[in-house]
Every structure is written in C-alpha cells, then in structure tokens.
C-alpha cells in the first residue's frame, strides 16, 4: 500500500480503519466460536465413523430430560447464591473496617490482594489439604469447637462437601470484593456524612441511608462480575471433589467439560455450554435492568 494511501486512511473521518482490528479479533475469537458452538449443538461426534452427524434437536431434548444436568444446575445456583451473598456481606464489612488511615492498614490492604494472584486450582489444593480428615486444620478446629466429629471427611460427606468447596471460593474472592468496595468508599463525598452527623444520625443510619445508596452502582458492578464468574465455577470443584461425593458438588461447567473432553460428546457439551451462556446472559441483563447499571 502506498504511503499516501495510508496517510489518507489515517486522517479520514471514517472510524472503520480503527475499528477493524478489534472487529476482526471479535469475529475470530467470539462470534465464530459462538456460531460454531450453536452449529455443534445440532450435531454429535460419532466415534465409529470418526465424524460429526446431524442430530437435529436431540441434544436439546436430551438436555431437557437429563437429570444430571438439572442436578448440576441446582448445585450451580446454590453455589452462586451462597458464595455471592457471603462475599458481598464479608467484602463490605471488611471494606468498611479497612476504610481508615490507621497504622498497618496499608499493609493489610496489600496483603488482601495477594489471594487474588493465586491460581484457583492451587487454592483448591490448599483447601483440599486443609480439610484432610486426618491432618487438616479445618476438621481439627471444627472438632475442637464441637461443630463436627473427629475425622469427619468434609469433602466426602454429601451434606458438607459443597460448603467445603465454598470455603476456598470465599477465602480467595472476598478480597476482590473488599478492594472494589474500598475503591467505591474512597470516592464517596464527605459532605452528606457531615450533614448527617450534625443531624444526629447513627453510624448504622448513615450506612443504610447514605453509604448503601451511594455505593449501589459499585455494588452492582461487583455483583455482576463475581456473579458471572461464580456461575462458571470449575477449578475448585474439579480439584477438590471432582463433583462428588456422588453428584453433590457437580456444577454445569464441570458437567460440560466432562461430556466434551472425557466422553467426546462434543455436541452435547456444546449444548450444555450454550445453555450456561444463555442463563448467564439472561440473569446478567435482568440484573442490569433491575439495578439500573449504566456503563
């Protein structure tokens, strides 16, 4: 291309030369895989013929009748709700506590961010060891507190396994909420608080009437980001329980991965992934509307 042509494009008013690289990346890495996934959900890999066979809606019908999928969806929702609720409450509480310029708080804030750089699989391994019924610190503490019997295998007990996985999740991601909430708290204006203080408002009233309304957008963004991540949970479950015992910690992502890569059911795996994507999109858009999040 001649230099003159390049110059002409560079100084033109058209946005397309500048949008083109990003559009190309989106098409290659997002649009095409999405369309391919939709196409794949109407096909299935047949090991004997070594090829994909058109199966119409059978993968979607199978999904509807698949009790494992519904069980995994239930587990995913439970995980999502419990983790998000605890992370928001704990995150906000810690953020309020740390929102002060006291000696050592700077270091504390820095330490908090350290959990975020640990890969989730490693965090899962750490908590797997910490929950070992024989030498793990968590069963020991719970035994000392009289909450669990000695040697209770948390991750191998149906009623406790999901809680065992959630501990790792909450430990690692609550600091993320803390950091976001703290950034929001630091940006709040001081005048409303001064006025409320003169009017004799209590700390709780100030939090409820001022902090929460003014922080609503920040909270909404945090909830949206964490919510999407939580619905795709895979690492902790894979490392700590492999979905067990039985199916008590089986999530949709783990199920989709297993169907796709372990059993080579590429079509059904695509159907599961698409379903997960649709649920996330619907939930996220509903939330954006309800919370009136503006980007």
């Amino acid at each position: 291309m001649a230099v003159a042509q390049v110059k002409r494009i560079a100084i033109s008013d058209s946005p397309w030369p500048w949008l083109l690289p990003l559009t190309a990346l989106l098409v290659v890495f997002t649009i095409y895989p999405l369309i391919y996934n939709i196409w794949l959900s109407f096909h299935e890999f047949v090991p004997k013929s070594r090829g994909l066979k058109f199966v119409g809606f059978s993968n979607w019908i199978q999904l509807w009748n698949d009790t494992r999928f519904w069980s995994a969806l239930g587990v995913t929702f439970l995980y999502f709700i419990v983790a998000l609720t605890i992370e928001i409450i704990l995150g906000m509480s810690i953020a309020l506590l740390l929102d002060a310029e006291l000696p050592g708080f700077g270091a504390l804030r820095a330490i908090l961010s350290m959990t975020l750089v640990i890969p989730p699989a490693i965090a899962g391994m750490m908590f797997l060891l910490m929950q070992d019924p024989q030498f793990g610190v968590l069963p020991y503490l719970l035994d000392q507190l009289g909450i669990l019997g000695k040697g209770t295998p948390i991750l191998a007990t149906s009623s406790l396994a999901l809680a065992g996985v959630l501990v790792a999740e909450i430990w690692q991601w609550t600091p993320f909420m803390v950091l976001i909430f703290m950034a929001g708290l630091r940006a709040l204006p001081v005048e409303p608080y001064e006025a409320a203080s003169i009017d004799g408002a209590s700390a709780f009233q100030m939090f409820r009437r001022l902090t929460l309304p003014m922080m609503s957008k920040v909270i909404a963004v945090a909830v949206l980001l964490r919510g999407i991540d939580l619905f795709r949970v895979f690492d902790y479950v894979f490392v700590m329980t492999s979905g067990g015992p039985g199916t008590s910690t089986y999530t949709v992502s783990l199920y989709a991965w297993q169907q796709t890569f372990s059993f080579l059911k590429w079509g059904y795996g695509a159907t599961l992934s698409l379903t997960s994507l649709v649920i996330i999109m619907v939930m996220a858009n509903l939330f954006i509307r309800i919370a009136k999040v503006r980007w």
């Binding site: 070594r50 019924p133 040697g151 191998a156 199916t247 890569f261 372990s262 080579l264």
Partner: protein
Amino acid sequence: MNEHDRKAYLASVTDRFVRGEMDRRSFLRTASKLGLGATALGMGFGNRPFMLNKAFAQEQLAPSPDVIAWLKDVGKPFAGTTLKLATESTPPSNAINSQLKKYFEEATGIKVEIEVLPLEQVLQKLTLDVASSLGTYDLYYIDQSWSASFSQDVFDPREQIAAKTELAMPNYNIDDFLPALVDGISKYEDRWVGVPYDIPIFIMIYRKDIYEKLGLKAPATFDELLTNSVAITKEMGPTTFGYAGQMKSGHYALECEWTSMLWGHGGSIFNADKKFVGNDEQGIKALEYYTKLREIMPPGVDGWTWDGQGQAVAQGVAASMLSWGEFFPYFDDPTQTKVSGLCEAVIPPQPIALRKPEECGYGEIPGVGHQGGSSLAVSKYSKSPDAAWLFMQWATCADTQALITALGGGTGPTRASVYDDPRVKANARVGAGTTRHLPVVRETIAKYMGSEPDLPEWAQISSDTIPVGLGKYFAGSYGSPKEAMDDIASQIETVMKG
C-alpha cells in the same frame, strides 16, 4: 561372563559397597577379579565414595552398543524427521522423554517430541487425529480400553516386520512380549494394536513389620485381607489402619478397586449377552465386602484416588493396599517415605470364585490383578511411518525396557526377558527404584490379571457412571448395595442406548 553380565555384576557389587553392605577389602577383591581396579575407574576412596557409583551407573545405564549401531545404520535416511507422540505420564514415557530419547536422536538424527498429558486429553488428541487423518501424531499411546476403537488406525507390528525386513530390528523378538499382555492389552480380534508398552497392575502390598508384630500372615484370600485389616485397625487405630483404598467418588480409581473386588467374588461387569451384571448375586456380595473393608479404612479414604492411597501407606497410616505395583519402588525409597524396607509385595488375594472370560462380554477378563496397561503403535496417518516404526522398535526392545525399568523406578516390563535382565535383577534390593517386587508382578500378569471390557462407551461408564454411583452409595445416598447396583445398572443401560 560376557561384558554385559560383568558390568551388571560390578554395578551390583558397587552398590552394595556404597551402601555399606560390603567391606572395602571384599569390594576391591571382587572388582579386581572383574578386571577393573579402583584407579582404572577413577575412584578415590575416602573423600568421594559416591563418585564411582554415579559414574558407573551412568555407564551402566547406556543403551547397548549393538542397538545404537543398528539405529545409526537404519536411521540415516530419516535424519531430520520429527516424530510426535502424545502419552499419559507413565514410567516408560517419562524415562524415555527425560533420559533415553537423546540416544535415539543422536544415533538417527530423528527428533522426537513427546507430549505428556492427562489420559482424557490423550484420548481427545488421538480421536481428533484419526477424525481428521492429519497425522499430527506419528505414534499412538493406546490405553488397553481403547484397543477396539483404534484397531483400524494403527499398523499391526507383525505386518510391519514382515513388510519391511530392512527396517526390522535384529533380535527384536516380538514373541518375547508376555502373552497375557498381548491378549489383554494389545490385541483386538486378530489384530495387534501395537505392542504392550506399559503394565501397571494390582498387587498386594503390606507392611511386613506390622503383620509380624501382630502375628498375621500375608493375606492370601479376601477373607484374610478383611480379618487382618480389622485386627490391625483395632489394635493400632486411629494411628495406623489395616487397609487403604482408592475410593474417590466419580474417579476412575474407585472403579478400578471395585472391579478387583467384583472379579474376586466371582462377578463380572458384563455377561456374555453384553448386559451389565454388577448387580447380580456376586456383584452384591462384592459390594458388601467392599463396604465392610471400608469401615476399617482411614477417614478421608472417600476422597483418595490411588495417590492418596499410596501416600497413606508411604506415611505409615495404612498397613496394606491392593493397588498398582508401581508404588512399591516408591515405598522403598528412604528419602521419600517412612516405610523403606518395611513393605512386602505378594500376589493379590485368591478369588472366592472367578467367572470365565467366555461368560463375560466385550473382552472382559476377570482377575483380581486389575491391569491398566497400554500399547504403543504407529499411526496409519503418520507422514513418517518408517521413522516412527524405528522409534517404536527401539522404545519397546528388551534393551530399552531394561533401561526404563532401571531408570523409571522399577516399573513392570512387558517383555519376559527383561525380568531376567541382570541390570533389572541388580536393583532387587531395598532402596529407591527397587525391582524386588517384579517377580510378584510377573506372576500376577501370568496368572491373576484382570482386564476391563473394551467398548466405546467404557470411558463414560468407568470414569463416571460406576464411580459416581458407588460414590453416592458410600456417601449414604442408597438404602442398600442392591439398590445402588440396580441404579447403576439402569444408568449403564441408558448410556449403552446412547
């Protein structure tokens, strides 16, 4: 004494001397008889006593000059070729990848790229390779349960030997592979789907010191295994338990251990009509037995695969396990475990009854010695099948297998002659990489080996349907073994229907 035997003997003598099991005078006398003086070996006593051992070990573990000469001769036309192999992390693949392939590459000029992956990823890569016929991988690592699926995608090694005599390795001796392994791992109908490459197999490993202390004999039957394990847990628990299992819900490990119990109680997974029969009378008895055994296992066993099981024995938490023989050399390593020299290996417990292979479906062979072997084969889609064939012969010849066994920490060879190789026998002493358990492995392969059925749905059944169902049972989700096995049976029926 030929050169090979002389070196092997010297290695053994040196090993004993360095370990303090032989005095200096005896060592020097023996070494001089073998024609190697201390000075000639570059050894200085006193200050660097281990240098000789290391230097000699390296010399000892080099491939045979004959093999290298053959590789140089036949490999010339293929210099510059690159071969690819996707494999699970197994002792042979790891030993070849980290220490041995350099000899092949130097001699032939052929570059070998080995991708070490989790088993399901190997299956995925091979499936994609055969589906596309691209020949991305020249060599296929084929798990024993995939033989049927890939039987038409690889060369039958017997045909390769006959078709290209100029590329056939002298003394390769394909008949040297243990017949039970050829039948159980590498054969589908009349075709050889490669040659036996790796043979992890269940043997009985127990703590001899604990057994002796409590006046117990090595468990020869399932009843003895249970009563011994109960006695140990009662006497030494909760510090030490009688038995450790591999019972992680939803993991293939649980299915492996369960099949051993099932086969040992006269049951089978499928009957001759290809119907799941794990819920028949024998199947229920097996699960009842497994349930009783679990009661005396350490807490947390429901979260262990074979790794947790091995760790339990290695750390002295459990006194016995029926598991992969590959653990044994690890247990003998004093730098890694608390039980070096304290464990013994014996054949698996004798079955209460044993169903005949012809009464089972999909090529299932009942036997308490559950095997998880694999084959190595040349892909029909390879762009360099001749170079791949050279590599395959080298990787599975007796000389390389002996080196793999010595370097790979006492893994079980797939060739009969390697069990008698002096280099392998020289390691039959207490210590890291011991081979003292290999006679038991060999006997188990010959007499007690059990092989899983071979069908396309087996990956899902063995890694999900059965271990998830069993996991639910052990977590208390079913009222009885019968209810659990019936549910598993109905789920398998659904899987089989597609």
